[in-house]
Symmetry: C2
Subunit: 248 residues, 2 copies
């Protein structure tokens, strides 16, 4: 963890970030900084763009309405996101925002919503999810914004799946493998994680998954987990065993 | 996981559960079953009491108001809860309900709220937390209700701590140990897990914790986690490495 005040305010910017090269804030960003946070000329915030690491930037006003952000100090190098494709059956609205936020906190590199037989939410608002992902990155200090894809049906996801990427799915039924033993050999390799909907996968879906050579089933313990709990739990054991959490 | 319909409705009862020995439902329970769920004479639900495992029980009405539950079939044996004391800085109201629910889902044996320097919520409603724990058990099929203790200050918790129980705390600072390597040697032993408030522990609190021989610090990865995310993530790696998730 960095040793400066890491907690924000932090903004995602599109343009290249270079020392002393002023970037104009968007209208919503200017409103947020000036009117909501009540910051003023000379105040410092954190900025990132997913390519140039994290910078401190100072506010510089021009006229009443225009606000510029002037990068002053490069604080952190760009770290790539884990090569982790997080595939999930989307929940409805507010709970979906939560899903995206947790996925960002837990270091997913790509968010892939999946339509399964028991998926609650028939439609997936990808623009909203992208906005949520940016906001989650700003709040958590994650310096790269994960890609967010549009929803696909499970069979199509699997048909197009790169077999070099192991797909781990969380299986509630008996016989699913011990998670850590299954995940450890996948360390530093491309991984996909599939978390099903509240109702779980159908028998046909399970059969389809288990027949594929690139799929591994893991157990998440002897208790029923809600979908949002399962998501964080699965991501945690995956990152701890095979991802970017410290490993001895 | 059981192969019957495990998903409820499920009720927690106080009395001993024996085949064909009718138990009278409480007024709120009768209201819930008859008026909310609209079940009737002969309908079957699941019941447990934390001692006698899980049973199927049939509804039997007597008169207009009295409802009895008649256990008919013993479905699952009583499983003890993991010997895991989950210590947490309570969040406010609705988020606290969520904390209790997640702790039950993740198999905590005892819930110990802790007052730390940066704890948000000055008061802890232990009766409400106990009710939440019962409800979470009913919803998740956890057959033993974890004990819920009243809030204590961190220094008092540590002063009274049984040194035979390792206390694992989640440390955001550099130097915290790789979680799985730290947790694995604790398999099947009494464990405590301490998750701090949103603001983290103060420098003095960290110093106090790290000076104790029964304390281990673990990292939860390179990203900032919200307190509720940290709770599930920490419980997941703990159960997977040293608790009751399947281990090879």
């Amino acid at each position: 963890m960095p040793d400066y005040d890491f907690s924000g305010p932090r903004l995602f910017l599109e343009p290249t970030i270079e020392r002393d090269v002023a970037i104009e804030a968007t209208v919503p960003q200017a409103n947020y900084l000036l009117n909501v946070l009540r910051l003023d000329e000379g105040a410092a915030i954190l900025v990132f763009n997913g390519r140039d690491g994290e910078w401190r930037a100072q506010l510089r006003r021009e006229g009443r309405k225009r606000l510029f952000l002037v990068p002053t100090k490069h604080l952190r190098d760009q770290m790539p996101l884990p090569d982790l494709h997080y595939c999930f059956a989307p929940l409805k609205s507010a709970r979906l925002d939560y899903t995206v936020q947790k996925a960002v906190e837990m270091g997913a590199g790509l968010l892939q919503p999946v339509q399964t037989q028991h998926t609650q939410a028939p439609r997936f608002n990808v623009e909203r999810a992208k906005a949520n992902a940016v906001e989650a990155c700003e709040q958590c200090g994650v310096l790269a914004v994960p890609e967010v894809r549009d929803i696909v049906k499970l069979d199509r996801l699997l048909a197009g799946w790169d077999a070099a990427r192991t797909l781990v799915f969380c299986d509630e039924r008996a016989g699913a493998e011990p998670p850590l033993a299954t995940l450890k050999p996948l360390a530093d390799r491309p991984i996909g994680l599939l978390v099903g909907p509240e109702g779980g996968f159908s028998a046909a879906e399970r059969e389809m998954l288990l027949a594929l050579p690139f799929v591994r089933a893991i157990s998440l313990g002897p208790r029923i987990l809600r979908a949002d709990t399962a998501a964080v739990a699965a991501l945690a054991v995956l990152q701890a065993a095979a991802g970017d959490w410290p490993r001895s």
